[in-house]
Amino acid sequence: MKTLFDKVWDSHVVRKIENGPDVLFIDRHMVHEVTSPVAFLGLKSRNIGVKHPEKTFATADHNTPTINQHLPVKDPLSAKQLKALEENSNAYGISYWGLGHEKNGIVHVVGPEYGITQPGATIVCGDSHTSTHGAFGAIAFGIGTSEVEMVLATQCIMQPKPKSMRINVVGNLSKGVTPKDVALYIISQLTTSGATGYFVEYAGDVFKNMSMEGRMTVCNLSIEMGARGGMIAPDEKTLDYVKGREFTPTGAAWDKAKAYWDTLYTEENATFDKELTFKGEDIEPMITYGTNPGMGMGIGRDIPTAESLEGGVATYKKSLQYMAFNEGDSMIGKPIDFVFLGSCTNGRIEDFRAFTEIIKGKQKAPNVTAWLVPGSHKVEAAIKEEGLLDILTAAGFELREPGCSACLAMNDDKVPTGKYAVSTSNRNFEGRQGPGSRTLLASPLVAAAAAVTGKVTDPRELL
């Protein structure tokens, strides 16, 4: 009895090495500017080419400005890195969606948008949130630069097969609870290392009823509990999403692909190395209070005391000290300085819809700087077409241009030292959003509630 994961993995194993990793064939390789230059240098020094440029896709996102993208990039190092990606893509015949290109955007947002992401595919990228693509029933995971070089050179990677875990969330979600909350809840239960060594399948009604965008948000965050990746079995919703996109097969090729996709589910008696079940009703809008994504809780709760938790008391205290929070504090009412809506976690159209739902008819709080950054030009266009931009503008918000932006703050979108940001991204590590920055991870609804009240606020009060 095979699991969904087994089926996809096993069908991509070129060779098994005894007491070693599997040689895994990769269907799609996404490349961006930050983790690829050294890999391309490696190819050059070995004097070899890219084996499958047609399976390789490059986009610039990590290190790009989110204003004035039509102007030359000011920072010389960033400009050089972007140039390197462009030159390498051209030299090896890789499609390149650079700054200003209509298809440009965050790698994990544009992949699905253009049908590069497909069920049953193996997808890698030099970015840990590649797990996003698992929403389509793909095996997708982040790799290091040496591995980027391997895939460029041979279209394969060497990986031991991970263990399997199934996480069921049964029942229904309450009002104001979003896919982001589901993910932050699971991570808070498992901790940031709870799924290390595993590949996760998400199952149960909550995921069945979730939109593709929501599934992407959940799979995206798999890495934050240590998992190699997460996936959800493809269903009608998945195929509807995929159909008709630029890189989606058509005609006979569609039929062939669909025949494969229809086999992609976990068989009834298949077993997992670990299986967990949570109830949808137990999940509240979440917020993090510490310096890793596992330090999250229902927004109305108080910050736990070190003694009430298992494990490293000293590390926990250090974390709260960095955040300038105290054990037992309530998060509600804490003043905030920045709001970031965006990233491959929550930078899709659905996230902008959710944000607008709350801020509609209200005004941005004067003490808040808000960065609203669509995940791609396609998302940006939808925001305009659906009239969301008008609502945002009326409420005193501005829209920026697509990119990773404050998710990792490689560009100018940095939260200053000591300032608090409610962020829809995926990591609240020390300094992640700029040296000394303090990040509270939350859903687009919680971010919107903070943006109009200037403090941490339960979004259910504003819905």
Binding site: A121, G144, T315, R432
Partner: protein
């Protein structure tokens, strides 16, 4: 990229008894703009190591003369977060050849193996023993033997074995990397590619 072969390593250690050390701490994102693999060691643990005005933070372990060595010993869940191989490069470039912890994040562990840094996973008890020994004597030696797959606290003779798969072990002993292996089976891969459904 080829790296130095690893066989045995005897060295004092640098203790970093913090849990969940993520790759953003090992090398912050703003140092990822390079297009070459050079100079990352200077920015290893940048924000823990230096004040905003670039003066060293006296209390951080890399700034304390009494601690030095080629083995970094970190707390549980070391290397979580981003897939940036730059983190492993920084560790290597600074001069570490081995990282010891009671638990490693997956991608970081892989990245280490790919760049010639040996990740050694020990029990939480053994980790504590190393810290205790180093507290007593900052120059206390630890010996890591890859052929034997053991780690020994030289002063007390306490020893533990660690796991590494045979293939990776072979690579590290010989300074080979995966690409060499894959390039050697290129035809097999080509034949496989012709029969993939997507």
């Amino acid at each position: 990229m080829a790296y130095d072969k690893f066989n045995t390593l005897k060295s004092s250690i640098v203790p970093l008894p913090i849990e969940n050390v993520d790759t953003d701490q090992i090398i912050p994102a703003r140092f990822l703009k390079a297009t070459e693999r050079k100079g990352f060691g200077d920015n290893l643990f940048r924000d823990w190591r230096y004040n905003p005005d670039n003066t060293p933070k006296e209390d951080f372990v890399l700034n304390q003369d009494k601690y030095a060595g080629k083995i970094l010993v970190g707390g549980k869940n070391f290397g979580s977060g981003s897939s940036r191989e730059h983190a492993a490069w920084s560790v290597y470039d600074y001069g570490f050849r081995c990282v010891v912890s009671s638990f490693f994040a997956d991608i970081f562990r892989n990245n280490c193996l790919n760049v010639g840094v040996l990740p050694v996973q020990v029990s939480p008890e053994f980790l504590e023993k190393i810290y205790t020994e180093t507290e007593k004597d900052p120059k206390a030696q630890v010996e890591v033997s890859l052929p034997e797959q053991t780690i020994t606290i030289v002063g007390t003779g306490e020893k533990e074995s660690f796991d590494i798969n045979v293939y990776k072990k072979d690579n590290m002993l010989n300074g080979f990397d995966d690409i060499d292996y894959l390039l050697n089976i290129k035809e097999e891969i080509t034949a496989f590619a012709e029969n993939t459904p997507l």
